[in-house]
Symmetry: C2
Subunit: 138 residues, 2 copies
DNA sequence: CCTACATCCTGTAGTTACTACAGGCACAAG
DNA sequence: CTTGTGCCTGTAGTAACTACAGGATGTAGG
């Protein structure tokens, strides 16, 4: 391997390392059309450039923010179109934010229930565990 | 259909309605061994009783509390064994509670980031959406 | 008793977002 | 020249269901 890999020409492994996206996932993104098919070397190896790097970073960040791949596609479509307004992006984000808040609320209710019941059987010696009893009730 | 279906003998549809568990899911649970194979009628239709009803309710409640099927299996194993102590159940529950709290924390960080960036592009007229810009940065 | 129509049967494939091989070619260092 | 690493394709596995396809059965009304 060259000591200084050209930043503008990356192998799939290089791209994977730079973005932190699993190598197999990069190929997966290509298969499902999230990432474009890159040019190939003579031997058929994928060659990526700055644009690919930017795009994959975008995808990774979006995923980290909890956007589904479908939502990522929508965001990319806006970006690819070039004529996106901040408003469109804002709407997608608000929708997502709403879902996230919903999930948080659900989990918090769940947490309360679990903590509650769990307290009741903190003492490991009780024979008829109240938690189990609760689970049997609708 | 009989007007008063015998409570102690349920068809798969009846069990599904009583528990709120999707009919296909009931069969799925049987396939993967979460629910036992029930006796069949002459024509091969599944016949369920009170025990099945209790068990499926247990599974449903557990799933609603966010336990994975693997965890549900563990809980059922304790119950089936009969000699479970409250302590064992408590441990499983605490582990799960820990995961739930972790998820909540993750989502809250995510929520903050989303809300933050989304505020920046509340005005739909800005051309270079700061959110999109953020996504392009690692 | 016959005809609808709901319900049941099995088995397979689709969903989300990856991850993990299997089996094989390519290339560079020592 | 061998060894090791990286890359290739294509398929199968993961969680927890859901959705058919294609066919048999059960039941209620006329």
């Amino acid at each position: 391997m060259a000591i200084h890999e050209d930043v503008t020409v990356l192998s799939i492994g290089g791209l994977s390392k730079r973005t932190g996206v699993n190598l197999e996932t990069v190929r997966y993104y290509e298969n499902i059309g999230i990432m474009p098919k890159p040019p190939r070397s003579a031997a058929g190896h994928r060659r990526y450039d700055e644009e690919h790097l930017k795009r994959l970073t975008f995808v990774k960040r979006s995923r980290e923010l909890g956007f589904t791949l479908k939502e990522v596609r929508a965001l990319l479509a806006l970006v690819d179109g070039g004529d996106y307004s901040c408003g469109e992006v804002h709407e997608l984000t608000l929708n997502h934010l709403h879902e996230v808040r919903q999930k948080i609320a659900d989990l918090q209710r769940l947490e309360a229930t679990l903590a509650d019941i769990s307290d009741q059987c903190a003492d490991g010696t009780i024979p008829d565990c109240p938690f189990i009893e609760t689970l049997f009730r609708a």
